[in-house]
């Protein structure tokens, strides 16, 4: 009755000859959930025996009896069910029969894979089993299309990721993400090692559309290889904090990859030339530009970007989002917000002065979200009111260690009204004054927002 299970399923020594719970649930819910209903199972009727016994399977009691029918289920249905199961459950299910095992190895199920590389000494999370990695490289590497690596803070894990990358010679990836979950461990690798692994993918894939390589030692020559092989397909490139790339290196990408729609990089790579290149006629509309402005040493000097370059960007891609994260010391803001800038999302990760926030109100007409982690001890009353008046798109604001008088805050909310969909204000920010105390301000604010609102509270313990 039951076919003998092949020994190639590697990670379970005890084979349970029954349908795993989740599998049953997935089968049971078939047809009842919209998102499953769209699949190829539509119009395919199960074999008669399967249909006959279906009611019985819902009771889940007499499993042995229905076993035969389970194993004869059409492959496409099984494949569809498998797609909704986590790998572990699929592996369990693959032990049912040879037929199920075949489905387990179908390319459709191996298009997408997330390698989790963690060392027990540095992470609490489990890692992808080395045997599974071997198996994937051996049997499924040509099926892989959407791959990401999650790597903990240890150099060994980053190295392991590079080893896998360098073995992906016969695959054609569409997306690749290198994600450091704790400290940026790719930065600790020898640059040449990392580059040679990464270029294996660049050279062999030829149709990469998304690439997330933040916090890695990628450099100009490797970006050239990327461009040479993937210029027609590249749509997304995220490379914040890649210190070995120069403005010329990223310019080369922008010049050649006309389909690039999303870009994330550090401010030191941003140039007028880059913006002009991204707004050239050949280039598609940019959707998203993310800039990190980070200071490594206090007192660092930053270059300026011409207003005309930003204007060209807005003209070419009128709807593009400009997201800027600032991690600067207060005295380094000199070159910023002197002229109009089309920024839509602003995050100030460190203390920012009243003066700079005043300039934000003057020069950021497209601002949608403003988050200020800290400010001095002087209330930000006029600044907020100016922002409410001038930034007519503003819909989200977050304030951390700042101060605002309750009256000014109410005024701000009144001016913005219901478009303020996110309003995250720490309780200590609001300074009671003659008009509003802490106990009644949330009513007043709720009234203007049209929904119940409270300030964010922190536990006192």
């Amino acid at each position: 009755m039951w076919e003998k299970v092949e020994s190639e399923v590697f990670f379970f020594s005890t084979a349970k000859l029954q349908t795993p719970d989740r599998m049953k649930r997935a089968l049971c819910q078939r047809g009842t959930e919209d998102d499953i209903g769209e699949g190829p199972s539509h119009g395919v009727s199960p074999p008669p025996e399967f249909r006959k016994r279906k009611r019985k399977t819902e009771e889940w009691d007499e499993e042995e009896e229905v076993g035969v029918e389970w194993s004869r289920m059409p492959q496409e249905i099984l494949l569809h069910v498998f797609q909704y199961l986590p790998l572990l459950d699929r592996a369990h299910a693959s032990l049912v029969s040879r037929g199920w095992n075949q489905v387990f190895h179908m390319p459709e199920l191996w298009r997408c894979f997330e390698f989790e590389l963690n060392q027990p000494a540095s992470s609490y999370l489990k890692a992808t089993h080395p045997d599974l990695i071997k198996q994937i490289i051996k049997k499924h590497s040509n099926h892989l299309q959407y791959v990401s690596f999650k790597v903990d803070s240890s150099t060994e894990s980053a190295e392991a990721a590079c080893d896998i990358l360098s073995q992906l010679v016969n695959c054609s990836l569409k997306t690749l993400g290198l994600i450091s979950t704790a400290r940026p461990s790719f930065m600790e690798l020898p640059k040449s090692h990392f580059i040679s692994a990464l270029t294996v993918v660049f050279v062999n894939s030829k149709s990469l559309s998304s690439l997330k390589i933040d916090d890695t030692p990628v450099d100009d020559p490797s970006l050239k290889v990327l461009v040479a092989n993937n210029s027609d397909t590249l749509k997304l490139l995220k490379m914040s904090s890649c210190p070995h790339v120069s403005p010329a290196g990223i310019l080369c990408v922008a010049d050649q990859c006309h389909g690039l729609r999303e870009l994330a990089l550090n401010y030191h790579l941003l140039s007028d030339e880059l913006l002009l290149s991204l707004s050239s006629e050949k280039h598609v509309h940019l959707e998203h530009l993310r800039i990190d402005v980070v200071s490594d040493t206090p007192g660092q000097h930053f270059h300026t970007i011409k207003k005309s370059s930003w204007d060209a960007m807005v003209k070419h891609s009128p709807k593009f989002n400009l997201v800027m994260y600032f991690f600067l010391y207060e005295d380094e803001f000199g070159p910023f917000f002197k002229n109009e800038i089309p920024v839509t999302h602003l995050y100030f990760g460190r203390s920012v002065s009243k003066d700079v926030l005043g300039r934000v109100g003057l020069h950021c007409p497209r601002l949608v979200e403003l988050v200020v982690c800290a400010n001095g001890l002087r209330p930000l009353d006029e600044e907020l009111i100016r922002i409410a008046r001038r930034c007519t798109q503003l819909s989200a604001i977050g304030l951390g260690e700042c101060e605002v008088s309750c009256s000014a805050f109410v005024e701000f909310v009144k001016m913005c009204g219901r478009r303020l969909s996110q309003l995250s204000i720490m309780e200590e920010v609001l300074v009671p004054d003659h008009r509003y105390g802490l106990d009644d301000i949330h009513w007043e604010v709720s009234k203007h927002l049209g929904r119940v609102w409270f300030p964010d509270m922190m536990p006192c313990w």
Binding site: P107, K235, L328, R350, E369, Q422, P459
Partner: protein, 584 residues
């Protein structure tokens, strides 16, 4: 009741009810009894374990001494017994012919388990038991019931429910001499030999090199603190102005006394209420007046049915965050060697005195976890458990989850800067100089970041960074940038929010969870929910409905973070475009 019956009123080995005022369990013990004994069981194995530090033991022993002294005045004594409760109880039941056992209700999962064992033992010996609630203001089960049988996960929601409840029960009067006189205690001549409060030395602590206690344990001291002049109390009615003075241990601090049960929370509640009403012409006090008590209550409620409340793994309300394991960095933090004077001063104060201001707790907790070191909140919680006088299990774990943005839908955008926050709170560096005397001679300008001082200044101050005082162990700008990205990554993967807004993902999760509590209450859907989570620890937060989650788990790398149409989905769409490849 048998004439030879003995009523025993049992205190437990953990902090609870170390007082004679508002003590319903003791009142129950006295009810019609011939004899009453107040018993405290001390587990000596517990003393040796690392998770309760010296200051906490000292406080406990002082509290026991104080209780014993108060009982003496009532012609009675405290019976301190050493041993495991499971061994001690049967022996006592027999020896003293116990007919009734009363104790304070413990809402925490471990306490409940332990109490259940004791109740079972009492039942086996035919001993009547009475358990009374007095460690929290409200009956926590009632709050949970009113929130559709789940503990509220936001403080707002909790407050809404509390406002629907009647006021907490009034505190009971202190036990009087008359009451005690009605029943004897039967103190033997050799009482001290068997039942006296042990000294720290006996518990194996080195006591020679220790300074005096900043916080004196005991009910007497707690009640003394309640009496302080009205001016001291007034500050509680207003917006707290946090300065250096509030960072220091003060004569009005009460949290350790609440934690050990030297002070009844209900007594404190009514004291606050009365003071407010007399000061504000009988206005009903706002909830914010009781903030500290309510936070405590909130965490007690959240933890009451969750035995894994104090850990990340397997804790259904905790976001699974890939924290780094780094024992070396953890030790630097715990021992105050981070190189950030503000952080080091706080950790030193905690170690020396056992108490730090709540904003100081925020600062060091943020630094250890999501702010700078990216180390698990569990490690920090354990250090606090050892050092902090008021480290109640629920409140400690809950606060750590809160501060590390691991639960309770906290916005994570704001990280306390280990330099800037210190400078705001302690501009003159007075606090730092007190706890890190090495930095005493630094000018104010540099005291929060001594590594920026010119070498000549460092030499003049007799403290060279890198030699006499550590260099900062991380670059805050660098690590906070990385960490905010990590948090974003985690919260994005939990939420169905796809926009660019940094604030959007958390509020979306909260919305979804709150609507889940309101609508999804059938036990069946809950079961399927949790079994779906099992094995997928990264998606454990109560949030999107199971079907949505299942669909989401298919996504791997999104092409756009906000556009829905270009989203890369692995199997579903791939399957359709390449349906022929299955022939291979």
């Amino acid at each position: 009741m048998k004439r030879d019956g003995v009523e025993t009123y049992g205190f437990e080995a953990r902090q609870s009810g170390l007082r004679l005022h508002d003590n319903p369990a003791l009142q129950e013990a006295l009810d019609g009894a011939d004899t009453v004994r107040c018993v405290y069981i001390l587990d000596p194995l517990f003393a040796g374990s690392a998770n309760v530090g010296f200051n906490r033991w000292r406080f406990l022993l002082e509290a026991l001494e104080d209780l014993d002294a108060s009982l003496r005045k009532l012609n009675s004594r405290l019976f301190v017994l050493r041993g495991q409760p499971t061994n001690v109880f049967p022996q006592l039941f027999k020896e003293w012919n116990v007919t009734r056992l009363t104790f304070e209700h413990d809402s925490e999962p471990y306490g409940k388990k332990r109490d259940a064992t004791i109740l079972k033992m009492a039942q086996d010996f035919g001993v009547e038991t009475r358990v009374r609630n007095s460690h929290t203001l409200y009956k926590l089960t009632r709050i949970i019931k009113m929130n559709n049988n789940t503990p509220p996960l936001t403080f707002k929601r909790f407050q809404v429910i509390v406002q629907m409840l009647e006021l907490p029960k009034k505190p009971l009067p202190t036990v009087t001499r008359q009451q005690m006189d009605c029943c004897q205690t039967g103190v033997a001549a050799n009482h001290d030999e068997h039942y006296r409060v042990p000294s720290l030395k006996e518990l194996g602590f080195q006591t020679d090199s220790l300074g005096p206690a900043v916080w004196r344990g005991g009910e007497t001291e707690a009640l003394e603190r309640l009496k302080v002049d009205k001016k001291g109390w007034k500050s509680r009615f207003e917006r707290p102005d946090v300065g250096v003075a509030s960072l220091m241990a003060s004569g009005t601090g009460l949290s350790p006394y609440l934690s050990f049960g030297c002070l009844s929370c209900r007594t404190l509640y009514y004291r606050l209420r009365d003071l407010y009403m007399s000061a504000r012409k009988h206005c009903t006090p706002p909830l914010s007046l009781f903030a500290q008590l309510l936070w405590r209550e909130f965490f007690y409620t959240a933890a009451s049915n969750n035995p894994r409340f104090d850990r990340m793994e397997g804790n259904p309300i905790c976001v699974q965050i890939p924290w780094d394991q780094n024992p070396e960095a953890l030790a630097k933090w715990a021992e105050g060697r981070t190189g950030f004077p503000w952080i080091d001063a706080i950790m030193t104060q905690l170690r020396q005195e056992g108490w730090i201001h709540h904003l100081a707790r925020h600062a060091v907790a943020c630094f250890l976890t999501r702010g700078d070191l990216w180390i698990s909140w569990e490690s920090g919680m354990k250090v606090f458990e050892e050092l902090l006088l008021d480290a109640d299990w629920s409140v400690n774990a809950g606060s750590w989850m809160w501060l590390s943005c691991s639960s309770f839908f906290q916005q994570f955008f704001h990280c306390y800067c280990p330099v800037g926050f210190g400078r705001r709170t302690d501009p003159s560096g007075e606090y730092i100089r007190r706890y890190i005397p090495k930095l005493r001679d630094y000018p104010n300008r540099y005291i929060h970041e001594p590594w920026t001082a010119p070498e000549s200044v460092q030499k003049r101050a007799n403290c060279v960074v890198g030699v006499d005082y550590p260099r900062p162990m991380v670059s805050h700008a660098h690590s906070s940038r990385i960490n905010i990205e990590r948090m974003k990554q985690i919260y994005k993967s939990l939420s169905s929010y796809k926009g660019l807004s940094l604030l959007g993902s958390v509020s979306k999760i909260q919305e979804e969870a709150e609507s889940a509590v309101m609508t999804d209450v059938s036990p069946q859907s809950r079961i399927s929910n949790s079994s779906f989570h099992a094995g997928r620890p990264d998606r454990m937060l109560p949030g999107p409905s199971p079907s949505r989650k299942r669909a989401r788990s298919q996504e791997l790398l999104e092409l756009t973070e906000w556009g829905n149409e270009a989203k890369v989905r692995c199997c579903g769409s791939a399957n359709r475009e390449n349906s022929d490849s299955s022939e291979q």
